[in-house]
Structures are given as structure tokens and as C-alpha cells.
């Protein structure tokens, strides 16, 4: 029994030594609390506070500075991005579709592998794959508005002009409404007015003067030509008019039934 007690005392002593060392031998660091999921009040934001939000995200929720810092050298410095963007977009390695700083920054966040700065690629991929995650998903999970704020901050801190606009809550809601709720239109007049054809063309009682007159269009061209002109406006340019004036995306905005209806209508204008 004596041995037993000695052994127990010895063990307890050892454990308490470990515990005391862990408590007092090393500095006590209180880990940061888990990040709060912030509710953004976009309506009340000025550009300055929007930039400040971007800065907070870069240093906090976005965890950007974990790698984009001067110490670790794991990712390129964000301070240089404004200066270097032109050069990167012109690089033949560049695989993305962005054409300006804003587009490039956005693309870098959601599709980091579009351009990988030399020396910062994933090991063994010869700088074709970026180790950076898509910041709009996963644990970082930035929203559109938050990414816009990051772009605003990067532009502002790099001395470039801020081109992003503060998204409003209403904008986002509107877009969603439209996409979800629009039902197909059933008369050509409605379609013409909904898609504001009359702003440029003379059609259905309206008199725009940017595009060709459509009043007798059905007599000049067949349905196939008209279809092509709507879906791909630059395919044929009427004499005396300029290219790139008509929006190229009606093909994706019109429902198939609407397109047919519209074509029927146009073809009937003789």
C-alpha cells in the first residue's frame, strides 16, 4: 500500500508539473474568437467606409494577408497589383478574360489560376495552378459585395481610380426578382416595348434613329437574316450604320417563344 501511495503521488506530481508548466511556463495567449458573420448595411455606405470594409476583409475575414505578406513570401504582394496588372494582362501566359484592373482583380479572386505570378504556383505545376482558393466559396466565402469592397480597397490603396460601385441591397434583390419571376411575353408589342427596341429603331409606333428603320423590314430580309441580326447584331451591318451599337445579348435575354413571336412580327412588316 505504501508503494501504491508513493506511485500515485509521483504520478500526480508529474501531471501537475506538466500542467503548471503549460499554464505559467509559457505566455498565455488567448486565441481570437471565431469571426462574426457580419451583416452588411450597404445602403448606408459611403465610398470611404466601403474601402474601409475592404481593408477589414483583406486583413480579417478574407485571410488574404496570411499569405500575401512581405514576411512569408507565399504569395505576391497586394501593394504591387495595381502597377503590375497591365503587364500581367498583356502576358501571354494570361488565360483569363479580364480587360481592366477591376475585372482582373475580380477574376483573381474567383479564378486564381487564370494568371499565376512566376514563382507562386502550386508545387510541380510549373506556375500554371495557383494554390489560392476561390474566395467566394469555402471557409472564406466572400459575397459579391464583399469582393467589390476588396477591389475598392486594392484600387484605392494602390493609388488607382476606384471603378467599382457600391452594390445596393435593392440591386441584388431586383436581379433575383427578374430572373425568377419574369414570365414569357405573349404579344410582339409588349416585347418591343420591354426590350426598348423603339429607342433605336423605328418600330411599332416608336421612332428611334440609331438603328435601321424596321417598318418594312419583312419585305427586305427573310426570317433567317432577321434571326441572325437579333442574335448576333454585328454579323451584318446595314449601310450607313455603325457596328457595336446594338446590345449583343438579346439572345440570352429573350425567351425562345418571344424570339419566334418577334420574328413572326418583323417578318410580317412588309
Amino acid at each position: 500500500m505504501k508503494n501504491f501511495l508513493i506511485v500515485v503521488a509521483f504520478s500526480l506530481l508529474t501531471i501537475s508539473l506538466f500542467a503548471v508548466y503549460a499554464n505559467y511556463g509559457i505566455p498565455e495567449i488567448v486565441p481570437a474568437p471565431p469571426p462574426k458573420e457580419e451583416k452588411l448595411d450597404l445602403g448606408a455606405m459611403t465610398m470611404e467606409s466601403f474601402v474601409a470594409l475592404g481593408e477589414r476583409i483583406v486583413n480579417g475575414k478574407g485571410t488574404c494577408t496570411l499569405c500575401h505578406n512581405a514576411v512569408g513570401g507565399r504569395a505576391p504582394l497586394l501593394e504591387q497589383v495595381v502597377e503590375l496588372t497591365k503587364q500581367r494582362l498583356a502576358d501571354e501566359k494570361y488565360e483569363g478574360e479580364a480587360e481592366d484592373l477591376e475585372g482582373y482583380l475580380m477574376e483573381s479572386m474567383v479564378e486564381p489560376s487564370a494568371y499565376v505570378v512566376v514563382g507562386f504556383g502550386k508545387k510541380g505545376t510549373n506556375d500554371t495552378v495557383s494554390p489560392m482558393p476561390d474566395v467566394s466559396t469555402g471557409s472564406i466565402g466572400l459575397s459579391e459585395a464583399e469582393m467589390a469592397a476588396v477591389i475598392a480597397y486594392l484600387q484605392e490603396s494602390g493609388g488607382a481610380e476606384i471603378t467599382v460601385e457600391i452594390p445596393t441591397d435593392a440591386d441584388e434583390a431586383d436581379e433575383e426578382d427578374e430572373e425568377e419571376q419574369r414570365t414569357a411575353l405573349t404579344s410582339p408589342e409588349e416585347i418591343v416595348s420591354e426590350f426598348t427596341c423603339g429607342a433605336c429603331h423605328i418600330v411599332a409606333g416608336e421612332e428611334g434613329d440609331v438603328g435601321p428603320d424596321l417598318t418594312l423590314i419583312g419585305g427586305k430580309f427573310d426570317r433567317a437574316y432577321l434571326r441572325r441580326s437579333i442574335l448576333d447584331p454585328n454579323a451584318d451591318i446595314a449601310k450607313g450604320y455603325e457596328a457595336d451599337q446594338m446590345p449583343p445579348d438579346y439572345g440570352s435575354q429573350l425567351y425562345a417563344s418571344e424570339l419566334e413571336l418577334l420574328l413572326d412580327y418583323l417578318a410580317s412588316l412588309k
Binding site: P27, L77, E79, E156, S157, G159
Partner: protein
Amino acid sequence: MKAFRIPRLLQFVLVPVVVYAVTRLIFDVLLGQLIPASLMTMYMFFVLAGTFMAFTFTEDGTRELVAPIKALVEDPSRKWLRNVVFVVLPLALGFYTYQLRTPKPEAPLELRSIHPAPPSTVKAYDKRFNLLTLENPYRKLQKEDPEAFAEMVAAGAAVYIENCQYCHGDKLDGRGPYAQGLNPVPANFQDVGTIAQLQESYLFWRIATGGPGLPKEAAPWISSMPIWQDFLSEEETWQVILYLYDYTGHAPRSWEHE
């Protein structure tokens, strides 16, 4: 047979003492970089453990080691010595503990970085300055137009006397009338370790954003330096920086000459 051998118990005591003394000698005196007490305690703990292990792994060795202690405790002829040791030892230990625990006139431990790394850019006066390239716009006058430069320095002196000397002192030595009440103490510009080691852009950053503008690594943010961009114009800030270097005779650090 050797004529003399240090008794084993004495060896046992000497080893850690010598290790301690040699370490302190090498680091504190020869290399000039002392070993922190917290680390030294752990080092000595394991040196002691190692010594214990090396001295007690054989039965004979252990017996020889503890023989004097055993004799001290059990031998009736050493009664007096025993009594003295048994009184002195606990007292010594008690004294050591007392020394260890007594609060000393020293500020509590703070892991605070005094000259934290500056950010690459800073926002002040509603503009953003790139601290890597920022220069004092009036510094060039020193060569180009010494007279105008002297005026600038004089203007800076006026700004300093009006605003800064209360803490940083009229001799720029960090001993102004209010300095006593401040912790951390105001910077001593005369010291070679302060502005002489820094670029003018660093000073601009520290003056313009003050204590609240310190980065995270300089926490806790208890510096009482005000945010001077709220009180001084951009011009005045640059002028006072000129004055600081002019009065102390230091030259601002610049990367070009190094």
C-alpha cells in the same frame, strides 16, 4: 590511485553551477546577448535532471553520492552540523522564494514591439502615402536653398515648442514636464536608437497617426501619442521632422547610402 578526487556530492553540485556560470559568461559577457531568465530556468532544470541521471544510474555511484547526506542525517557525531543545516537550508529556500515573489519596482511584463514594422502605405490627410517611396518634400532645400531650409527648420522649431516639448522635452531627450506620467515613455530623439535609425517617412507615419495608428504587433496600444494629423497640417508635420533631425544632429536613414 589518484591523490585527490572531488567528492561525488560536490561534483554533483559543481556540474550545474559550472554549466550555469559558463553559459552566463559566454552569453552575457562574451557575446553580449543575455539568456532570458525564463529560458535559463528551463535549461537549468534539464541540466539538473541530466546530472541527476548521469550520477545515479549505478548503485555504487548513488551510494557514494548520498553517503555524505546520509551521514549528515544519521551520524550522531554530526548533530550540530545537522541542526545548522536543517535550519539554514529551509531559511535559504524561503529567502529565495521571497526574492522570487516580491514585487519589484518594475513595470509588468509586456511583449511590446517598440519600433513595429510600418505598413507599406498609410492614410493621412485624406490621402494615401506610400511609405516605401515617401520623402520629405523640404529635404531637398537643404542643398538647393539653405536659407529657405533654415526658415523651414525654424518653423518646425515653433511647431515643436508649441506641441511636442511637453512630453518629448525641450532638449528632445524624451524628458518633458509630462514625461514622468507616461508609459511607454516618450521617445528620446537624442538616442542613436530612435530617429537616427529611421526614415523620415517612418516619422511621418508615427506623427500623423499617433498611438492609435500602431499596428497589431505593437499591442497593447497604450502609447499616448496623439493623432497629429488632426492638429497639424501636412506642411507642419514635415517641418517638425526637419527640426528633429536638425536639432539632434542626426541624419535621417535612407536606403541610398547603404
